[in-house]
Symmetry: C2
């Protein structure tokens, strides 16, 4: 199909598709002439994946590119793809000196993860993300302990069990990898939305029943 049809079927403007081509998010079509190229269903699917990661997952162009590279790289074994994706999604590496309270929080988090018996690589970005939340709470004067995260950890454990079983049920590597990525990013957004809905429900039940606004 031509780029105009790709644009129409994906709902993404032609200039934006050209931009994704330039940025390496979308592989080029099959060139049939100096100024003609042919795009297939896989291009359409790729565009939808890009939009899902950006719109639902909130990823930037750079993060999407990293994730897609990991998905497309056959040399990366299954059990590493999630890690690579998490590195693309997670916070950037440290820039300046790390404050004292952050250092302490990180080691608390590391001990906490170890106490859960979880087998997670030492440089997982989510470790630092979790430590950052702990630091934020404490800087606000709320003296939480890492143990406050335990119920969340138990919940996360059960969800991850379910999700990984689902991934195993799929067939090809490409499908498995993509469903793992989508599971991480899209179901994360779904879980957030559901948590907020549940909070509103409980808030209404506890503090009153009048409608908002």
């Amino acid at each position: 199909m031509k780029i105009s049809e790709l644009s129409r079927r994906s709902g993404i403007s032609v200039p934006t598709i050209k931009y994704y081509l330039r940025e390496g998010l979308l592989p080029p079509g099959i060139s049939t002439a100096p100024n003609q190229a042919d795009y297939g269903e896989d291009h359409l699917h790729r565009l939808r994946l890009i939009r899902a990661l950006m719109d639902v997952g909130g990823l930037g162009v750079g993060a999407v590119r990293k994730v897609l590279q990991a998905v497309g790289d056959e040399r990366i074994p299954m059990h590493q793809v999630l890690g690579v994706a998490h590195h693309a999604l997670g916070p950037l590496p440290d820039i300046g000196p790390v404050p004292q309270d952050v250092v302490r929080a990180r080691s608390e988090v590391d001990r906490f993860v170890a106490s859960l018996g979880w087998n997670v690589s030492a440089d997982a970005p989510a470790r630092r993300a979790l430590a950052d939340t702990l630091v934020a709470l404490r800087r606000l004067g709320l003296d939480y302990d890492v143990q406050a995260f335990r119920p969340y950890a138990e919940v996360a454990y059960e969800l991850a069990t379910r999700e990984l079983e689902h991934v195993r049920a799929t067939t090809s590597r490409a499908d498995a990898v993509e469903s793992a990525i989508v599971g991480t990013v899209v179901f994360e957004a779904a879980l957030m939305a559901l948590r907020r809905l549940a909070q509103e429900h409980h808030s209404a039940k506890r503090f009153g029943r009048a409608r908002r606004r």
Copy 2:
């Protein structure tokens, strides 16, 4: 204290504090002369809250301003503050025409929420956010049903129960409101981080044990 001390103790540069003052995120200090003002501990605390919302919660300046307005507005009753915060956090209102599949997903989500027996306002942004995730999954060719969200809903329900109980235990309105906001935003980030850690653990267990990278 003077702005330089506020800057030193908060770790935020003086120009940035001035920027927050201009943007209305931080209330002005008590003016003691045409070019002098005095800032208190509450300003320091407010700055830490701003950074928590921005750095951990990923909110922009506009969203932070809306949330802080809701926190500070005594007229807004407790049971509405969370809703107001969710409106500030959630997706923007529709701009163009809403595609057919989105319309269908929204009504499915509405029926799903009703089937859960949750009492949530009809215009809660999280409804649309959840519908968007469903649409994203389907556009990727994964024909999920809303019911796939049920386990997540159950988990979200239990977490929200626990969290709202914690809010009730606090005392003043200001504290309660702030802890509700912080709970929504910061514990959301913590839950995400823990879910990713749990995923890595299960991924390592299921697909292999070699270290990444």
